[in-house]
């Protein structure tokens, strides 16, 4: 079973809650995905609208855990302050720590990320850092107190899957005991299956589901792909080879030439 910061989760799908066609479809997609952990954020409450209050009551009705993010934060101070505010509002010390360093790719500013992670871990937060596949950064994040890593597959929202499977495999192999969630860039269920096949513990998906023509159906498809990928990893996939190897035995073949 997936275990993140001592909490066991029955699903290896983590689901974002943004950009769904309607709140009803979001609710149905959460159910269809089987997820027990959804990401949320904090934004300005428009006076008189109280949109945030309605959203929060919808999420609470779903009975899933929440992972607040620090999306769009560009500095250590912004991210740390957002984490403090999220802890109060959502009543959890879990935080998906994002410190964006580059606007076209939304690549994390890994230097600021490590600094913010160190501050938050010291203050008792359980930090889920959105990072790259860089091994040295991963090591620094673990030293800073992170006990889960969330490497990107490819840039947020691009749907291109795993940009650097070789680098991700190296990261997985370097820290075999650290729970790792592929966060960002997953576009279709086969990307999620591939992530699990490589030994990653879970995937965090949002746009791939919310922007599908039928988000609820896509959420269910992801649930199956993630389950299949996990089973395949546990079953031990064969090693790829460069040349053909006949699968049908050659011995005993008739001479008919």
């Amino acid at each position: 079973m997936l275990k993140l910061y001592e909490v066991e989760l029955g699903s290896r799908v983590l689901l974002g809650t943004a950009r769904y066609p309607s709140p009803a479809i979001l609710m149905e997609a959460v159910k269809a995905s089987g997820t027990q952990l959804v990401t949320v954020s904090l934004r300005r409450e428009a006076a008189g609208e109280r949109a945030g209050q309605g959203f929060w009551s919808l999420i609470r009705d779903l009975g899933v855990r929440v992972l607040p993010n620090t999306a769009a934060c560009h500095s250590v101070k912004e991210a740390v302050t957002t984490a403090h505010m999220a802890r109060e509002v959502f009543g959890t010390s879990w935080v998906k720590l994002e410190v964006i360093g580059e606007d076209d790719t939304l690549q994390p500013d890994v230097f600021a990320l490590v600094e913010a992670a160190r501050i938050l871990a010291r203050e008792g937060f359980e930090v889920f850092p959105y990072t790259t596949e860089d091994l040295v950064v991963a090591e620094r994040l673990l030293e800073a107190g992170c006990r889960v890593l969330m490497p990107w597959g490819s840039p947020i929202g691009c749907g291109r899957g795993l940009n650097n499977p070789f680098g991700l495999k190296a990261l997985r192999a370097r820290f075999p005991a650290v729970p790792m969630v592929i966060d960002a860039g997953i576009g279709v269920p086969s990307h999620a299956a591939q992530s699990l096949e490589l030994g990653f513990d879970a995937v965090l998906i949002n746009t791939a589901v919310s922007q599908a023509v039928d988000p609820v159906r896509m959420a269910a498809a992801f649930a199956r792909a993630v389950a299949a990928g996990r089973e395949a990893y546990l079953a031990g996939p064969m090693e790829p080879r460069d040349m053909a190897v006949p699968s049908t035995p050659v011995i005993g073949k008739a001479f008919l030439g």
Partner: protein, 65 residues
């Protein structure tokens, strides 16, 4: 006094943060607050005095990825 609430200038009569939230119709709402970029926890709002020109952020739960 005039303060900036979520990026918009507003005239408020109240002096402390809890009372300003009530004046904005946000009493009892699930929100987190920051004044001039510094987080103000909910228990500290009644004693957090606001001054002319302060920047107040009032954030609430929203969809996120």
């Amino acid at each position: 006094m005039k303060i900036e609430v979520n990026g918009q200038w507003q005239e408020v009569a109240a002096q402390d943060l809890a009372a300003v939230l009530a004046e904005l119709g946000l009493a009892g709402a699930v929100v987190a607050t920051a004044v001039n970029g510094e987080f103000v926890p909910a228990p500290a709002r009644p004693t957090a005095r606001l001054a002319e020109g302060d920047r107040l952020e009032v954030l609430s739960p929203m969809q996120g990825g």
